[in-house]
Structure formats: structure tokens, C-alpha cells
């Protein structure tokens, strides 16, 4: 890989992020991200998967420069994002954008759609008002919202799908190269979700965009991601090409997530209790050894004592499990059928 290519990536280099919190009346440290490395290449779509509390959104915020790592660095074009000079920061701010989950708060309710999309044009690109206005119309058009009807509307008058298109238009306004999409389609209905994903894919092709797609929906991951990164309690437990991770998962957590996703097929009633036991533990006192061992259906003694090293399968995929080979070959009680068999 040439130096130039490496320069073009957005990279998290062994980043940690901890927060001081008060838990049960005592001060404690919550480590949301615990030593994660991740890189996104141009035109690539990386899906970041995990339950709430896995640290995936915190990692996304650090990649966006909205939050700073406690340790480690986020690099853009080879430079530490948190040590950029003014001009470099302006470039970074423009080129790395975000689309948030639409919970109704991703757009300022007091601003018109046009004003929201205009902001990055005025500040990130430094256009004057007239130029900006003209471009807002184009942007709304790109995401399938007729500008005449929408430019002066309030976000409160829009549906979730429409608001999400506005968010996309706003992110596109800065002419970015990377977009962090944090649960960008999770709140949407199936058919609206597909419309939004289509728009995002089209823009990616026409503009050579990269996405970091933070989501818990494995169906969406399958439809759009080149690469999948699975996080659990602040650490990456598995990563690799989407087809490999989703078809031959090598970490029990990934397997559990896949088994828990309700299949839209009544002839395969695979949904069963306790693929994983209980719920994600608190990141304030994470389990020793493998962090997943308290919920893992195949945990053995070694898992409670020794942190597993990442196993490299040589096909681009890695899994941090003592028994990754076994898991990939399909051993273990993953589905109801397998258990009853």
C-alpha cells in the first residue's frame, strides 16, 4: 500500500474514551471505548454493529471530531484530528460529515428545511447567502425532495423519512468524503428505509463517498456494507468482509446477534431463548478475561481469565475469541434446531 493511499483514510488508532460518572452514589470511570482501531478507505462502506452500550456511537463521535479520545488518536489523511491547525480543521470539518438517527431532534425545529441545509454552505464552504440558496435547491432535489415544496417548511411538518433526506442533504452540502451515519435509518419504516438507503447508495457512487454505518440492523448491514465491524462493551470482537462475517461468523457474539434477528420466514422459527444470556453488562465494571464470557453460550474456564487475542483468518477477517476456529466451523448451540438436534 502506498503512502498516498494510506493518507486518504479516516483512521482510529488504538483509541480509548472514558467518562467520569456517578454510579450508585460513588464516582466511577466508565470506559465506553477500550482500545479500538478502525480504518475507513475511500468509497468504502463499513458497518459498525453492536448493542446499545457497546460504544459504537462514542467511537463514531470521535471519528467525527465531536469528541476526543482519552488515549490514542483519530487520524485523517495521516494527521491527528485533534491537533490540526485552523486551515486543516476547516478541511476536516468539511470532509467528514454526519447523518444522525432521526428521533425528531436531528433538525432544529425552529429552522426551515432550507436554513438547515444552508448552514454548512455558509460556514463550512464559506459561500455567500445567494450562492448558498441556489445550492440548497439542488441539494434538496438530489435527495428527492422538490425544493419548491420543502425549502420553507418546518421539520415538524415532515415525516421521518423526509427529515432523514434533509439530514442527508445537509451532510452532502459540505461536499464530504466521509459520512458517519449513526443509526441513520433505524427509526424508519421498511419502505421508507429502503428509499433513504437507495439515495445514500446513489450518492456514494456519484461522489466516491465513504460511510461509517453505525447500526444494529443486520439486514441493513447485509444490503449496504462492504466490511463489518462488531463491537461489544467497547471492544471490537470481530471484523471482516460483510459476506464472511454474516455467513460464517467467527465470534459467538456475532453468531448470537445473527440468531436473534427475527427471520421473515414463518417456516424457519429459529427465534429461541438465550442465544446469549441476559443483557450487556455495565462498562463501569466489565468482566475480566473475555468481556463476552458472562453471556457466551460456549464459554469455558479460560475465557474468564484470559483476554483472547484476535485470530486472523487470512481472508480479511479477524475474531477475538479463544475458540474462533470452532465457531466459524459452526460448532455450538446457536439455534433452536441445533439445540434440539
Amino acid at each position: 500500500m502506498s503512502a498516498d493511499q494510506a493518507d486518504d483514510r479516516l483512521v482510529a488508532e488504538d483509541v480509548y474514551r472514558s467518562f467520569k460518572v456517578t454510579s450508585k452514589g460513588r464516582k466511577a470511570v466508565l470506559t465506553a471505548v477500550n482500545g479500538v482501531s478502525l480504518s475507513i478507505s475511500p468509497s468504502e462502506t463499513v458497518a459498525l454493529v453492536g448493542e446499545s452500550g457497546s460504544g459504537k456511537s462514542t467511537l463514531g463521535r470521535m471519528m467525527l471530531g465531536l469528541d476526543q479520545p482519552t488515549e490514542g488518536r483519530v487520524l485523517y489523511q495521516g494527521r491527528d484530528v485533534n491537533a490540526l491547525d485552523r486551515a486543516q480543521w476547516r478541511d476536516f470539518r468539511r470532509e467528514v460529515q454526519v447523518i444522525f438517527q432521526d428521533t425528531g431532534s436531528s433538525l432544529n425545529p425552529r429552522r426551515s428545511i432550507g436554513d438547515s441545509v444552508e448552514m454548512p454552505l455558509l460556514y463550512n464552504l464559506g459561500l455567500d447567502r445567494r450562492e448558498a440558496r441556489a445550492r440548497v435547491a439542488d441539494l434538496l432535489d438530489t435527495v428527492g425532495l422538490p425544493p419548491d415544496t420543502f425549502i420553507n417548511r418546518s421539520p415538524l411538518e415532515l415525516s421521518g423519512g423526509q427529515r432523514q433526506r434533509v439530514s442527508i442533504a445537509r451532510a452532502m452540502a459540505s461536499e464530504p468524503r466521509f459520512i458517519v451515519a449513526d443509526e441513520a435509518v433505524s427509526a424508519l419504516d421498511v419502505s421508507v428505509r429502503a428509499q433513504v438507503l437507495k439515495v445514500m447508495k446513489e450518492i456514494q457512487h456519484s461522489r466516491q463517498l465513504s460511510y461509517l454505518f453505525i447500526t444494529h440492523d443486520l439486514g441493513v448491514v447485509r444490503a449496504i456494507a462492504d466490511r463489518v465491524v462488531v463491537m461489544y462493551l467497547g471492544e471490537i470482537v470481530e471484523s471482516g468482509p460483510a459476506s464472511i462475517v454474516l455467513e460464517q461468523p467467527s465470534h459467538p457474539y456475532t453468531r448470537s446477534l445473527l440468531a436473534a434477528a427475527p427471520r421473515p420466514d414463518p417456516t424457519m422459527r429459529t427465534l429461541a431463548r438465550a442465544q446469549v444470556k441476559g443483557e450487556i453488562p455495565s462498562p463501569i465494571e466489565p468482566p475480566l478475561g473475555c468481556r463476552f464470557h458472562t453471556r457466551c453460550p460456549i464459554a469455558r474456564d479460560v475465557c474468564a481469565t484470559t483476554v483472547p487475542a484476535a485470530v486472523d483468518f487470512g481472508d480479511g477477517s479477524l475474531a477475538a475469541c479463544h475458540f474462533a476456529d470452532e465457531v466459524r466451523s459452526g460448532a455450538g448451540p446457536w439455534t433452536a434446531e441445533e439445540r434440539s438436534a
Binding site: L66, Q97, N108, P109, R110, L156, E157, S167, R170, S174
Partner: protein
């Protein structure tokens, strides 16, 4: 108190959504107008403001000089509300008194709002030590016994309308600051604020144009209550003789009426009613605004 419009991911979006109207002002008026009492109060406020503004034109006599026999009862010819112990027309005095009360009310509310918004915004947006320091100061002012302190200050530095307004204002802003701080704390991590940061918008603009407009609803409500309590405080101070002797005020009228309660009850009753009505009006108005600006509260019953 947070802004109600932001968190709309409730399970039953379908139904509530139909209340969406084309423009916010129309919607606001629609909700506000369903509270009859508040509408009546709004009308009363408008009438009182008009009366105060037009006082020199509509009051039949000079309120400061005796124009008739002393202590004429209400309904006497030419003196609808009677006259006081110096023969001054009560009706003219009540109308002129509204000027002082309203001015104190509005100026105090404006001052308290500006200061409260500034302090609340900084504390809420930046958090950390800024928040700690500002909130300790706020708490300090909030725990001061309002009337006692006002009495002490006026007693020490002398009376006068300006001083009085300053004193009451300094004691009134903490409530606004707290409300604004809460709003800013909630919204500083809202997605649209992060989106503004990512759009390159500088912090001061985010505070002023992204967050502030979204926390103004409760501020308006608090301001309305501030008006009411400032009017009451002014009246109390004047009643204790600490008002401005050179202007007619309801509190001052009450004070003078004390000695004549047996012989001229109306001297106490009319300013008393005026104070009660205006204070009540602004309180009900505050309630009405609160309901109209926070529709969720009503729907949940």
C-alpha cells in the same frame, strides 16, 4: 422544563401528528384560545396597558392634587371611585398607579430575563466548572429572602423607582437562569446541535441561534410570573413606605389608606383590587402560556 417539540418519537405518533398545523403561531393561538381564563386575562392586560399609556388623557383629574372634597364615597358626582383624604380623585389615582405597577413589572421581567438567559445559557452550554460557579451564585440569590432584602436595601440607600426596580430585578433572575440552564443542558447534546457543529457553526452562534430559540417557551412563562411577583413586591415595598413618594402607586395608596380604613374604606379597597387583579391576571396568563407552549402536558391527562 424542556421544549416539548423535540422528543417526538413516542409510540403513538400517528394520532398526535394530526394536530400539526401549518403555522406555529396559528397553532399556538388555537391552543391558547381554548383556555378561556387566559384569554380573558390577556384582554385585561391589554386594557390595563392601554389605560396606563393613555392615563393623562383618560383620567379625569390630576391624581396628585386635591380636586374635590376629601373622603367622598364612590359614586359621588364626578368621582366614580370617590376621593381620598386630600380630596384627590381615586379613579385618576388608580389609573396612574397602573403605570408604575406595569413599568416595574415589565422592566423587572425584562432585566431578569436578559440576565437569567445569559447566565443560564453559559452554565448549561459549557457545563463543568462554569456551570458550578454560576449555579452557586444563582442558588445564593435564590435563597435570599426577597422582601426582607429589598426592605434592607431601600432602607439603606433610600427609595426611588429605579433603585426599587434594580433590587427586585436582581432578586428575580435566578428562576429564569435555572429554566434556561436546564434547556441548554438537554439541548447541547441534541443531534441538531451536533449537526450545527459539524456544519462549522461557531459556538456563540450555536448558543444564540440554535439552542436559545428552543428554550424560550418556558422563559416566556417565567417572565409572565416575574411580572406578577414584581408588581406584588413593588406594592409591598410602597406599602411599607419605601416606594417613590413622587409617583402615584397602588402600594403607596394602600399605605395612605391605612389610617382611614374606618372612615374611607374605598381608599384601600380600589388599589387593593387593582393589585390583586393584575397579579392574578399575569399568573393565569403564565398558566395559559405554559399550556399553550407545552401541549404534551394537556394531552397526557
Amino acid at each position: 422544563m424542556s421544549t416539548p417539540t423535540l422528543h417526538d418519537a413516542t409510540p403513538n405518533a400517528e394520532a398526535a401528528g394530526l394536530a400539526t398545523q401549518e403555522n406555529a403561531l396559528g397553532e399556538f393561538w388555537y391552543r391558547f384560545s381554548r383556555n378561556r381564563a387566559a384569554v380573558v386575562c390577556l384582554f385585561v392586560v391589554i386594557v390595563v396597558i392601554a389605560a396606563a399609556l393613555l392615563a393623562p388623557l383618560i383620567s379625569p383629574y390630576d391624581p396628585m392634587s386635591g380636586v374635590g372634597a376629601a373622603q367622598q364615597p364612590p359614586g359621588s358626582p364626578g368621582h366614580l371611585l370617590g376621593t381620598d383624604h386630600l380630596g384627590r380623585d381615586m379613579f385618576s389615582q388608580v389609573i396612574h398607579g397602573a403605570r408604575v405597577s406595569l413599568m416595574v413589572g415589565f422592566v423587572v421581567a425584562a432585566f431578569a430575563t436578559v440576565l437569567g438567559v445569559l447566565i443560564g445559557a453559559l452554565a448549561g452550554y459549557y457545563g463543568g466548572w462554569v456551570d458550578n460557579v454560576l449555579m452557586r451564585v444563582t442558588e445564593f440569590f435564590q435563597t435570599l429572602p426577597r422582601l426582607v432584602l429589598a426592605l434592607i436595601i431601600v432602607a439603606l440607600f433610600g427609595s426611588g423607582l429605579t433603585k426599587l426596580i434594580l433590587v427586585v430585578a436582581i432578586l428575580s433572575w435566578p428562576q429564569t437562569a435555572r429554566v434556561v440552564r436546564t434547556g441548554f443542558r438537554t439541548l447541547r447534546s441534541a443531534a441538531f446541535v451536533d449537526a450545527a457543529r459539524v456544519s462549522g457553526v461557531p459556538s456563540w452562534r450555536i448558543i444564540a441561534t440554535e439552542i436559545l430559540p428552543n428554550v424560550l417557551a418556558p422563559v416566556v412563562v417565567v417572565a409572565s410570573l416575574d411580572v406578577a411577583s414584581a408588581i406584588l413586591t413593588e406594592a409591598s415595598l410602597s406599602f411599607f413606605g419605601l416606594g417613590d413618594p413622587n409617583v402615584v402607586s397602588w402600594g403607596g395608596m394602600l399605605q395612605q389608606a391605612q389610617q382611614y380604613l374606618r372612615s374611607a374604606w374605598w381608599m384601600a379597597v380600589f388599589p387593593g383590587i387593582a393589585i390583586a387583579v393584575l397579579v392574578l391576571t399575569f399568573n393565569v396568563l403564565g398558566d395559559g402560556l405554559n399550556d399553550a407552549l407545552n401541549p404534551r402536558l394537556k394531552d397526557k391527562d
